[in-house]
């Protein structure tokens, strides 16, 4: 291989790296480490007691559980939405295309209020669902619904470009070689979009974990039942218990970071497997 001077678009590696570290340091590292520092006013037993209180445990379960369910729902339905938007031309397509991004732009409190109005027992959806025996508003289901709403764009927007990259002839080729539609999907298409799906899932999941505005209206905020972790943190702050609030925040932070790390590793692994596939 011929060696030649590598040219960079951005000036100077050292300059850009210096900038990167400064930027990330000021905006992410320092704020987050000050979060850890604030918990140091607690002794270890106090910290442990705060973060393992029954209410905190119930809140972790709800926050992680509902966020996971919401991200999973978005993976399934977000993939469908992305598929339809990429593969079909239909009237109103560009309208749907812009609708998808709306949850990004809408203030979450507005989303929460609107969803609560729809799903409460007097609302358009709620009155019928309640007749069928489903209680959505003021239950953990409601929490998951709100989190699904705010997470949808993440999956659609990460999967869409990948789907656009896969040419329809790949499917045709598979079909000519005798693959059934199911085989085409599981062997050809799915492996190609899996990394994108995983990162869409991660983004939606991470977004849902920190969500506050849309959830407090629809959850009903009942201790031990429908109380999310961000609300618990706000509750601590209302008592001027800064240390307690940051202790719980630190637990969330560590847990989320570990989870995101795992998903990132998974994503990298599936990416590598994809590239290693013969003929891919």
């Amino acid at each position: 291989m011929a060696t030649h001077a590598r040219r960079h678009v951005l000036p100077g590696f050292k300059l850009s790296l210096g900038f990167t570290w400064t930027y990330v340091g000021l905006l992410v590292l320092i704020p987050l480490s000050s979060l850890f520092l604030k918990t140091f006013s607690l002794t270890w037993p106090q910290f442990w007691e705060t973060v393992t209180a029954p209410r905190a445990l119930a809140a972790y379960r709800l926050s992680f559980g509902a966020s996971f369910a919401a991200a999973l729902a978005n993976v399934v339905f977000g993939l469908l939405v992305a598929w339809v938007l990429v593969r079909y031309r239909f009237p109103g397509r560009s309208f749907v295309e812009s609708l998808v991004d709306l949850p990004f732009a809408l203030p979450t409190a507005v989303a929460g209020l609107t969803l609560t109005t729809l799903f409460s027992s007097k609302g358009w959806y709620g009155q019928h669902l309640e007749a069928l025996g489903f209680k959505v508003a003021y239950s953990s289901v409601g929490v998951a619904v709100a989190l699904t709403f705010i997470g949808l764009p993440f999956v659609v927007r990460t999967v869409q470009p990948v789907l656009e990259d896969i040419d329809a002839d790949v499917e045709e080729a598979a079909a000519t070689l005798g693959a059934t539609p199911t085989q085409t999907f599981t062997r050809v298409l799915f492996p190609a979009i899996l990394p994108a799906l995983l990162s869409g899932f991660t983004l939606a999941f991470a977004r849902a974990l920190g969500e506050y505005g849309s959830v407090v209206f629809i959850s009903g905020n009942m201790p031990l039942r429908t109380e999310i972790v961000p609300l618990l943190i706000v509750t601590k702050l209302e008592q001027y218990d800064y240390a307690g609030a940051t202790a719980i925040a630190v637990v969330m932070l560590v847990a989320s970071f570990l989870l995101l790390l795992v998903v990132n590793v998974l994503q990298r692994w599936s990416h590598r497997r994809l590239e290693a596939r013969p003929g891919a």
């Binding site: 400064t22 905020n221 702050l237 209302e238 001027y240």
Partner: protein
């Protein structure tokens, strides 16, 4: 130079960070005040500020502009502790103002003695709002814990207003014949078993009751109840005044450290005094808060029904005690929700 090129962005950012403008000054001859208040006083202070500006300009030939900031009472207090340059605070409960002393020494210990009536120029009380015709026949506190009655009140952990609601219920149970700490606790416990949803703030609870149609009765501040029935729907809701309730005293104070720094003490103090003046008290009454002035109260008597009122000092020995016994982590309110198994 080249080896240190990574330093450049660091220095740049540091420089930009330091040169943050600290000159939010006022034009000569004009003065601005910032009033940091809680949510439901927004309309009240729009009127008060206009009236006070006119009054100050007439008496001192100086233009005064008052900026308002509203939000949950506790959140507002934290903002001031963290450096929001409030000249005066007008919050929902004395405990939040106490924290300005405890957490940041912005005001002296005895701040509540500085103005008349515990530094609360207006009061309110806790009443019930029921649906038109009062279908469940709610007359007094004890009706709230009858079978089949659902009650809407916000979460005392996140809402200052909700803490007054809770204390009103406790005080009622404690003060009725034969009432003890145990019976009061039992009453409040059973009351919260009738609460299906805990909104994080008072306006949220009002929405849940009025717009979502949840619950048979809303426990609310009297001024909010008036607002709901007068302006949202007299044909949909009725106010029920219980036999006894608590005097809710939203206190006000000058934030000493800030007014001394900004040189606004004189006008800030005059602003708070204005709340006690005849004109201030009339505006207070107009916005459904109970005025302290006997004279104005007499004129408005019909609107503010008489009931037996008790203060937080009488029944709970002040806010600090009430807060630590009832609302801090591990307090009575938490115990209500601890799983029965524990």
């Amino acid at each position: 130079m080249r080896t240190h090129s990574w330093l450049f962005p660091l220095l740049l950012v540091a420089f930009v960070g330091c040169s943050k403008s600290g000159s939010e000054g006022s034009a000569p001859g004009a003065v601005t005040l910032l009033n940091v208040s809680y949510d439901p006083t927004r309309e009240l202070y729009v009127d008060i500020n206009a009236a006070f500006s006119k009054h100050w300009e007439a008496t001192h030939q100086q233009k005064v502009t008052i900026k308002q900031s509203h939000g949950g009472s506790g959140k507002q207090a934290r903002a001031v502790i963290d450096g929001l340059d409030a000249d005066v605070v007008t919050l929902a409960l004395a405990y939040d103002v106490d924290m300005l002393h405890d957490k940041a020494s912005l005001i002296p210990e005895g701040w509540q003695k500085r103005l008349a009536n515990n530094s609360a120029p207006y009061t309110s009380t806790i009443v019930f709002v029921v649906r038109k015709g009062n279908p469940k026949g709610i007359r007094d506190w004890d009706d709230l814990v009858r079978d089949g009655v659902t009650v809407i009140t916000p979460n005392p952990k996140t809402s200052g207003g909700a803490r007054w609601n809770y204390l009103a219920a406790w005080g009622h149970a404690l003060r009725k014949p034969g009432g003890t700490e145990q019976s009061a606790r039992a009453f409040v416990e059973s009351l919260f078993r009738h609460v299906p949803v805990l909104d994080s703030g008072a306006r949220g609870a009002t929405t849940t009751f009025a717009e979502r149609g949840l619950g048979d009765v809303l426990i609310a501040w009297e001024n909010e109840a008036f607002l709901l029935t007068d302006e949202v729907g007299q044909e949909r809701f009725e106010i029920v005044v219980p036999s006894t309730s608590i005097v809710a005293e939203p206190p006000v104070t000058v934030v000493d450290r800030n007014v001394d720094k900004r040189g606004t003490r004189a006008v800030a103090e005059a602003y708070l005094q204005f709340l006690y003046s005849e004109e201030g008290q009339r505006l207070v009454a107009k916005h459904h808060y109970r005025p302290r002035s006997q004279e104005v109260a007499r004129k408005e008597g019909a609107r503010f029904p008489k009931l037996t009122l008790f203060t937080i000092d009488e029944v709970f020995g002040g806010w600090r005690k009430a807060q630590s016994a009832h609302f801090d982590d591990g307090g009575v309110f938490d115990a209500i929700y601890v799983p029965q198994a524990r």
